[in-house]
C-alpha cells in the first residue's frame, strides 16, 4: 500500500512537471513579455534591460529552471494588466470558487444518491420514470443554458432570487470571506450552485440507480430479505453500501469537470471566483494569470485524484495495490 502511494505521488509529480513545461512553453513563445512590460515605445536599451532582468537572455533550460524555482515558491510573476502578483489574485478569489463548488457538490451528492435509490426501488413506477426523464434532461442541458434559464425564471419573471454577484459576505479568517454565514450570501449562492451541481447530480443519480438495480438482484440481498431483515437495513446496509464506493469515487473524479463548469457558471452569475479571473485573463491575453491558474488547478486535481485513489483502497478491502 505504501509503495503504491509513493508510486502514485511520483506519477503526479511527473504530470505536474509536464504541465509546467507546457505552461512555460506557452509563456515563452506566445506574446512578447518584454514588449508588454517595457511598453510599446521603449528604446532598445530599455528593452534590453527588461530582457536581462527577466532572464530572457539566458538559454532555454536555464530559464525553465528559474521558472520552476519561482513556481515552487508560488511566484508566477505579475499580471500584465494590473501589475499585481498573480498568485495573490488567484488565492484571493479561491474562497468564492471553493464555496460554490462545495455547495454544488453537496447538492449533487445528497440529491443524486437519494433520488437514485428511490428510483431503483420501483423502477417501473411513474415516480421513477419521472426521475429518470429528469436525469436525462439533466445530462442534456448545457450548464450555461441552465444558468440563464434559472435567471430568467427566478430573477426576471418571479423576482425571488438575485441573478448575479456574491451578496453579503462575512470575514472568517484573514482574507477568507464567506457567503455561507449571511442570509443574503446564501440567497446569492442558490442559483449558481444549482446550475453547477445539476449535471453532476444527474450523473451520480444514474450511477447510483444502475448500481442499486444490480445490487438488489444479487444473492446477498436476497439472503438479507429472506432472513427477514427490515427493509431499511436491506436497502441501506446491504445494497447501498456496496454502491456508494463507485459513486463517491466518481464524485471525486468529476472534480476536474466541476472546475471546468465552474468557469462557465461564474461567468454567467458574475461570481467573483477564479474562473471569472481566468476568462478575463484569456480575453486580455494576460499569460501569467493563465499559467498560474493552470498550475494551481492541475495541482488541485492531481491532489484530489490521489486522495480518491487512496481512500478507495481503504474503503474497499477487495483492492490490494502491489
Amino acid at each position: 500500500m505504501i509503495s503504491y502511494i509513493i508510486r502514485r505521488i511520483g506519477q503526479s509529480i511527473v504530470v505536474l512537471f509536464v504541465v509546467s513545461f507546457l505552461c512555460f512553453g506557452i509563456f515563452q513563445f506566445l506574446g512578447d513579455p518584454v514588449l508588454t512590460l517595457a511598453g510599446r515605445y521603449a528604446t532598445q536599451e530599455q528593452q534590453e534591460l527588461v530582457r536581462r532582468s527577466l532572464g530572457l537572455d539566458k538559454p532555454f533550460y536555464v530559464q525553465y529552471a528559474i521558472f520552476i524555482r519561482n513556481a515552487l515558491r508560488g511566484n508566477f510573476g505579475l499580471s500584465y494588466t494590473s501589475q499585481v502578483p498573480v498568485m495573490r489574485m488567484i488565492l484571493e478569489r479561491f474562497p468564492a470558487s471553493f464555496e460554490l463548488a462545495l455547495v454544488a457538490m453537496f447538492i449533487a451528492l445528497t440529491l443524486g444518491i437519494t433520488l437514485g435509490v428511490v428510483s431503483s426501488l420501483r423502477p417501473r413506477s411513474p415516480l421513477s420514470r419521472a426521475i429518470m426523464a429528469g436525469s436525462l434532461l439533466g445530462i442534456s442541458l448545457p450548464t450555461f443554458l441552465v444558468g440563464i434559464l434559472l435567471i430568467l425564471i427566478f430573477s426576471v419573471w418571479l423576482r425571488v432570487l438575485p441573478p448575479f454577484g456574491r451578496g453579503e459576505v462575512v470575514r472568517i479568517v484573514g482574507r477568507w470571506r464567506s457567503g455561507l454565514l449571511a442570509l443574503d450570501g446564501l440567497r446569492h449562492l442558490i442559483l449558481p450552485a444549482i446550475t453547477l451541481g445539476l449535471y453532476q447530480l444527474a450523473v451520480l443519480l444514474r450511477l447510483t440507480r444502475g448500481g442499486m438495480l444490480e445490487a438488489l438482484a444479487e444473492d446477498y440481498t436476497r439472503t438479507a430479505w429472506a432472513k427477514g431483515l427490515p427493509q431499511r437495513a436491506v436497502i441501506f446496509k446491504h445494497a447501498l453500501r456496496n454502491v456508494l464506493i463507485p459513486v463517491v469515487t466518481m464524485a471525486g473524479l468529476q472534480m476536474g469537470e466541476l472546475i471546468g463548469f465552474s468557469i462557465v457558471t461564474e461567468s454567467i452569475f458574475q461570481w467573483p471566483g477564479m474562473g471569472n479571473l481566468l476568462l478575463t485573463a484569456i480575453y486580455e491575453s494576460d499569460h501569467p494569470i493563465i499559467v498560474a491558474y493552470v498550475m494551481f488547478v492541475a495541482g488541485l486535481i492531481l491532489f484530489i485524484n490521489l486522495a480518491v485513489d487512496i481512500l478507495y483502497g481503504i474503503l474497499n478491502p477487495k483492492i490490494r495495490y502491489d
Binding site: V15, P123, L145, L149, I259, G260
Partner: protein, 294 residues
C-alpha cells in the same frame, strides 16, 4: 433485404421504444432544417443587406408587436431568430460530425495500437489519456482556443478533437485487450496472419459496437461543448452562426423581458442533445442486451 429489415428484432425494439422514436424525430427535424437552411430559412441572417434595424427586437409573431415573416421574432441586429437558429444548427452539426469522425478514427487507432503492441507505447498513451481524462475537457479546449486565438471553425474542431480522442482510445483499448486473448485471434496468429490482418479483420469488427455507443453519447457532448465555447466567446468566430453565441448575445436582453432571444435557440440546442441522448440510450441497450430495462 427490406423484408428482412422489417422483420428484424432491432427495428421491432426501436418501434416499441417511444423515447428512441421521439429522439430520432427531434434529431431528424433539426438535421433537415440545418442542411437545407439556405433554401428554407426565411432570411439569410448573415447577409447584412437584408437586415434592417427597424425590425430589431421584434417579439414572436403571436405576441403583440410581432409580424411576418419573423415567426420567432428578431434579435437586436434585426436577424430573424428562426433563420439564425437553422444556420446555427448547421455549425453545431458540422462541428460535431467532424469531431466524431476525426477523434473517433484517431482515438480508436491509438487505442488499438496501444492494446496490440503494449509496452512503452501503451504505458505512455494511457497515462496521457488518464491525465487528460481527469482534467476538464471544457477547460482544456477553452485554454487551447484562448491561447491560439482567431483560428475559426477548423481550430474549434481541432481543439475539441485534442480533448476528445481519449474516450475512443480507452474504449478501443479495452475491447481490443479483451478480444486479443480470444481463441480465434490466437488461431489467426497461429496460421500466420499478419499483424495488420489480425487487427483489421479480427479485432476491429468486434470493437465497433462499443465505439458506436461512445460516439452516440459523445455527439451530444460535443454539441454542448461547442455551444459552451461559443457562449464564452472563445469558440466560433462572431461572424459565423452559432447557437451558443446567440444565447450569449441574447442574455443581455433577458432583463428587458426579451426572453425569445434565449429560449428559442436554447430549445434547439436541448432538442439536438436530448434527441441524440435518447437514441444513444436505445443503442446502448440494443447492443448490450444485458442492460435491457428490467
Amino acid at each position: 433485404m427490406i423484408r428482412r429489415l422489417l422483420r428484424s428484432r432491432t427495428l421491432n425494439h426501436y418501434l416499441r421504444d417511444p423515447s428512441a422514436v421521439l429522439g430520432s424525430f427531434l434529431l431528424l427535424v433539426l438535421l433537415v432544417g440545418a442542411v437545407f437552411a439556405p433554401w428554407i430559412a426565411p432570411q439569410n441572417p448573415y447577409d447584412p443587406k437584408v437586415l434592417t434595424l427597424q425590425d430589431s427586437l421584434l417579439p414572436p409573431i403571436w405576441m403583440e408587436g410581432g409580424r411576418a415573416p419573423y415567426l420567432l421574432g428578431t434579435d437586436d441586429q434585426g436577424r430573424d431568430i428562426l433563420s439564425t437558429i437553422l444556420y446555427g444548427c448547421r455549425t453545431s452539426f458540422l462541428v460535431a460530425f467532424s469531431v466524431i469522425l476525426i477523434a473517433g478514427t484517431a482515438g480508436s487507432l491509438i487505442g488499438l495500437l496501444a492494446a496490440y503492441y503494449g509496452g512503452v507505447l501503451d504505458a505512455v498513451t494511457m497515462r496521457l489519456a488518464d491525465t487528460m481524462f481527469s482534467f476538464s475537457t471544457t477547460l482544456i479546449a477553452m485554454l487551447l482556443l484562448g491561447i491560439f486565438k482567431g483560428g475559426g471553425i477548423p481550430l474549434v474542431i481541432l481543439a475539441i478533437v485534442l480533448t476528445d480522442w481519449v474516450r475512443y482510445a480507452r474504449t478501443m483499448r479495452g475491447s481490443a485487450l479483451a478480444v486479443k486473448q480470444e481463441d480465434y485471434v490466437q488461431a489467426a496468429r497461429a496460421v500466420g496472419a499478419s499483424n495488420f490482418r489480425i487487427m483489421f479483420r479480427h479485432i476491429i469488427p468486434n470493437a465497433i459496437p462499443p465505439i458506436l455507443v461512445v460516439a452516440a453519447v459523445d455527439f451530444g457532448a460535443v454539441v454542448m461543448l461547442e455551444a459552451t465555447l461559443s457562449f464564452l466567446g472563445v469558440g466560433v468566430p462572431i461572424n459565423k452562426p452559432s447557437l451558443g453565441m446567440m444565447i450569449s448575445q441574447g442574455k443581455r436582453f433577458i432583463y428587458a423581458g426579451k426572453w425569445w432571444l434565449v429560449v428559442f435557440p436554447g430549445s434547439a440546442l436541448i432538442s439536438i442533445v436530448l434527441g441524440v441522448n435518447l437514441l444513444a440510450d436505445w443503442l446502448r441497450e440494443e447492443i448490450n442486451p444485458r442492460l435491457r430495462k428490467r
